[in-house]
């Protein structure tokens, strides 16, 4: 058997377990890399995004603007100081 990397294995594992989630995930959330620039996020065609189930945004660190966005079994982490600041402000 070929050696399988941890990253590859986990990706396969989550695919095996997360039935149907991929079809419900907004397109920009399909990026798996951390630290994507906020301009890329803003460029997503928001009007065409569909969503099933809740979407949770967790501010990991307001100082760095790091936010984890979760939907289904997916998670994307990116940095956006402005959104982090506005989310925090809206909760106060």
């Amino acid at each position: 058997m070929n050696r399988v990397s941890r990253r590859t294995f986990l990706r396969q594992a989550s695919m095996g377990a997360a039935v149907g989630v991929a079809t419900t995930v907004p397109s920009f959330l399909r990026r798996s890399d951390k630290g994507k620039a906020s301009s890329e996020i803003a460029a997503a065609p928001a009007g065409h995004v569909t969503q099933e189930g809740p979407l949770v945004a967790h501010i990991d660190d307001v100082n760095t603007g790091e936010i984890s966005v979760m939907v289904g079994t997916r998670q994307v982490t990116y940095r956006n100081h402005e959104i982090a600041r506005r989310l925090l402000s809206s909760a106060q």
Partner: protein, 472 residues
Amino acid sequence: MSSHREAPEISKDPVADNTDLYAFVSPDKPDTVTLIANFIPLQDPGGGPNFYEFGDDVLYEINVDNDGDGDANVSYQFRFTTEVLNSKTFLYNTGTITSLTDSTWNRRQFYEVTRIDASGSVILGSNLACPPCNVGPLSTPKYATLAGAAVHSLTGGRLVFAGQRAEGFYVDLGAIFDLGDLRPFQSLHIGPRPSVSGVNSTAGLNVHSIAIQVPKTDLTRGGYAGTSASNPQSVIGVWAAARRQRVNLHGDGSSTWVGPWMQVSRLGNPLVNEVVIPMGEKDQWNALTPSGDSQFLSSYQHPELAGLLPTLYPSVFPNLKALNTKGSARADLVAILLTGLPAGVIPGFQNYTGTTQADMLRLNVAVPPSSSPSLLGLLGNDAAGFPNGRRVFDDVTSIELRAIAGVTYALVDTSYKPDGAASLIYDVTNPNTGTPASLSSIGMNYLSSFPYLGTPNDGFDSPSVTPTSFAS
């Protein structure tokens, strides 16, 4: 307990709490290996009307490493779905359940099994029925037959079962946690009392088991048939895990889970997170894969319990006390629990997976089942038992107590003479003279075929008590 409620966080989440893990060459089908992971600890059999069940929101895993790096090469995943036929009744069953399709069984579970390896994922079976819990003689009168129907054949000669079983792990919990006051040796304890027989705290209790039996070639590197015990490809490392999604949103009478699957429970070798890993690191240990276990090395090299034994039993362990005083790292425990035993330590045996320190249940699949198994496994000259994998009846508490007390240190330092008492310790029943069959005297009854763990204790008759007479 082996791993029942062993860490602060998972003790609050019994549905995901992995309590025991077994891996052994199937005695009645020696070209296969049986893997069993138990969850939901310490079930009172009468605990209705909402009887015990797997979590629909939990991802259960049995993982296998076959190249020694502490990461999974093969994983079996199990997802459950609960179905309620009539939500207008409080009853688990509205009459006698005689088959898995009876409409009288109101709350039932089904599951899907997926096998994952480097080539991708394959669903081995779906919509597989669990058996009901063993409610009692009126509700589930022919329980063994009913549960037998929940043993499902899968492709490739595999078998699977998921459902309630009798607890197979025996231990004197009250004695262990009352300052290690082992009843048969109380007279030697620092708080001496007359010695008495041990008590099996888990007698009469149930668990939920996920059991799968697969060809050896399903597990080994390169699909090796496991014919030579000296071949490194014959050795696999096994651990089980449970995952929950990262966020739980509580609503009005419902809840939703969101986010990636996070590991919340893990189990390789029995009792490790229980008595080797310190309180402040237990939750972290549960969240990691075995490949990260080198960070816990000092806890294996210098187990707290080894230091306690000479204090609790002052005149019994002078050699262990001297070993502790020298500060010697326990290379024997590191080998048994983290790397496996290399060839040459025990003649004709090895279950070494390399230098990566990873807490896994290591099984050399080329070692055939024993025709006269010892409850002490390898310590009883029976290489088919723990710590070469683990069978359902292995006395892992006594084995590990003896190992920590110094019995196995002589394997790595021939000048060390273990204390005489170290090879006599036990908690419930004497494994030197006991057999798997004799364990029925402490309430442990096993099956001779898959899924090997016994028929669960029924709710009406357990615990066994004499009903109070009505006053006339």
